[in-house]
Every structure is written in C-alpha cells, then in structure tokens.
C-alpha cells in the first residue's frame, strides 16, 4: 500500500469530533444539532458545554435518528460557565448536569450498559428539545459529538 494510502486509512480510523458554535438555544420543538451523512458512525460521546453561566433550569431531550439518548424530562442543565452535561447515549437519566467535571460514560449509562451508539444517515438527525427553559441571552451552550467513521464517507456536521 502506498504511503499516502496508508495515511488515508489511518485518518479514516481516527476519532473525530463535531462541534457547534456557542448558541442561545431556545427550541421547544426538536432542533437539529448535527446531521449524519455518508454512512455509519460509531458515536462514543455527546456533550453540552456551558460557554457562559446558564442560570436557567433546562430539561433536555436528545435523540439520534429518533431514538432517545436520555430519559425524557430528567435533566436540569443549569450551571456555571465551564459546566459539562454528558448525554448518556441511552434512555436513562442524565446524572452529570452543571458540573465542571463529569464521568464518561455517565454512571447510570454504564450501569445500564449504554455508552456508545451506532447510527446511519437515514433520518440522520441528532436533535435536542428543551422541554423547560429556554436559555436567555447572553446564556450560550455548545455541543461536542465524538465519533468514529464506520464507512469512509460518513460525516457528522
């Protein structure tokens, strides 16, 4: 195999991270955070980061391809700037809202044998609904999605 081809293969096997810019997210209906295109992905982490203090108590409901990534109406994501909320990637409660350092996977996720999901581009939507809230400017959050490409053209953006 040519050197460039080997580097291409290593590149495709590495861990990728999709990011959103800090946003005053106010959605009461599902809002698309990321979209999966091109093939299958293995998602190993999905995080909400508080770019500012978020005083507003929030209830998040996150889905990937319509499948719940947390239990509904279970999360208060208020917290200081720098807080991280870890999405459990399974239908269990989020245990780590509003903390500056949290376990990955979450304790309940690991106990429930959740921690990573495989998903494809049909539907392809990673969505979030705030059922309470929303954020009030200048409160902003941003998202990170950590994943591996299972298919070469797979992308989360």
């Amino acid at each position: 195999m040519a050197f460039n081809d080997e580097v291409d293969q290593i590149y495709l096997s590495k861990r990728f991270v999709a990011r959103t810019p800090p946003t005053v997210q106010v959605n009461a209906a599902p809002a698309t955070i990321f979209t999966i295109t091109g093939g299958l992905v293995l998602i190993t982490g999905l995080f909400v980061y508080h770019d500012t203090v978020v005083a507003t108590a929030l209830t998040l409901d996150v889905e990937i391809n319509g499948v719940p990534m947390d239990s509904a109406a279970s999360i208060s994501a208020a917290g200081p700037a720098g807080s991280v909320t870890v999405i459990p990637l399974g239908a269990v409660a989020i245990l780590t809202p509003g903390v500056l350092s949290g376990p990955v996977p979450t304790l309940l996720a690991d106990a429930g044998h959740f921690g990573q999901v495989i998903a494809g581009p049909v539907n392809g939507l990673i969505t979030c609904t705030f059922t309470t809230g929303p954020l009030v400017a200048p409160e902003t959050i941003s998202w990170r999605c950590v994943y591996y490409k299972i298919d070469p053209e797979a992308l989360i953006a």
């Binding site: 991270v17 995080f47 991280v84 500056l100 950590v146």
Partner: protein, 160 residues
C-alpha cells in the same frame, strides 16, 4: 483535505500524556499537579508513580484527587507503603483507591469500574487537577510523579 491537514487531524485525535517531575510532597494544602487550558479534555486516567520508596505512605498518609474541584477519589484514603516503581491509580470518581502499592495495577481500578467510573470530561474553567496529601509528609528523599492520560476534545485543549 491536504496531506498535512490529515496528519494534523490524526495527531489531535491521539492519546496525550501529561507528566510531572519527581517531587517530594508535603501534607496539607491542595497541590496543583496539572492545569487544563484551551478547551475540553477527556481524561482517561490519572495516576501517581513512586519514583522512590515512600515510607510515609506506610505511616497513614492519605491522598485525594480532584479535577475542577470534583473528587476523583474518595476523601481520606489511606495509602499503603510503597517501593520504587509502585503505582497509585485514581478511580476517577469519589470511591476508594484500591489500586495502590503495586508495580502493576488494573486501570480503571476495580472499585472505580464497579461504581461505573472510568473517564471524566472537563474544561478549562477552574482547570485545576489537584492532589492533597494528608496526615504525613513524604520524607526528604522520597519522590513521586504523576501522569495524566487524556484526549483533546477541542483542538487547543492542553493539560500541562
């Protein structure tokens, strides 16, 4: 994507290790071992390496670790006596340190894994990875050093 950009992206996705110099630690105030800057990191492990034998650890010395003020071990864990080469693995959650005083240790620790702790995500606000020794000082010639194994979630993230 340009060849160099691909190599840069591969570099950023690898495991990184922060290391501290062998140091004698005194008991009392929290000691900042590392600082997180630049963005989010996923810390896969944090451990203490005994560069020398540490008799103080046999004398009731306790050790507590925190990341951004959040405990990564239970408070007031009594350490055991150590010989040079022994490793103390932090459980990454507020449970007892059980992996200590041996030159080979399970990682994550058994109690950490049982309690569903393995990694933590953390950002640069506060940004301090600290350890507090209690009860007894390490003797003058005794040294230990720390390792922090982590992934960069954001490109500019760094633990140093």
């Amino acid at each position: 994507m340009a060849f160099k950009d691909k190599v840069d992206q591969i570099y950023l996705s690898k495991l990184f290790v922060a290391r501290s110099l062998p140091t004698r630690y005194l008991f009392g105030a929290a000691q900042t071992i590392f600082t997180i800057t630049g963005g989010l990191v996923l810390i896969r492990s944090f451990l203490c390496y005994c560069d020398t034998a540490i008799d103080a650890l046999a004398n009731g010395t306790t050790i507590v670790g925190t990341v951004n003020g959040v405990a990564i071990s239970a408070p007031a864990i009594a350490t055991t006596g150590s010989i040079a080469g022994d490793i103390i693995v932090f459980p990454m959650g507020a449970v007892a340190i059980v992996a200590m005083g041996n030159p080979t240790e399970p990682m994550p620790t058994v109690i950490g894994d049982t309690a569903h702790y393995s990694s933590v995500i953390a950002g640069p606000v506060n940004g301090l990875i600290q350890v507090t020794f209690g009860v007894a000082d390490m003797a003058a010639a005794e040294l230990c050093s720390f390792r922090c194994i982590y992934e960069k979630i954001d490109p500019e993230a760094l633990i140093a």
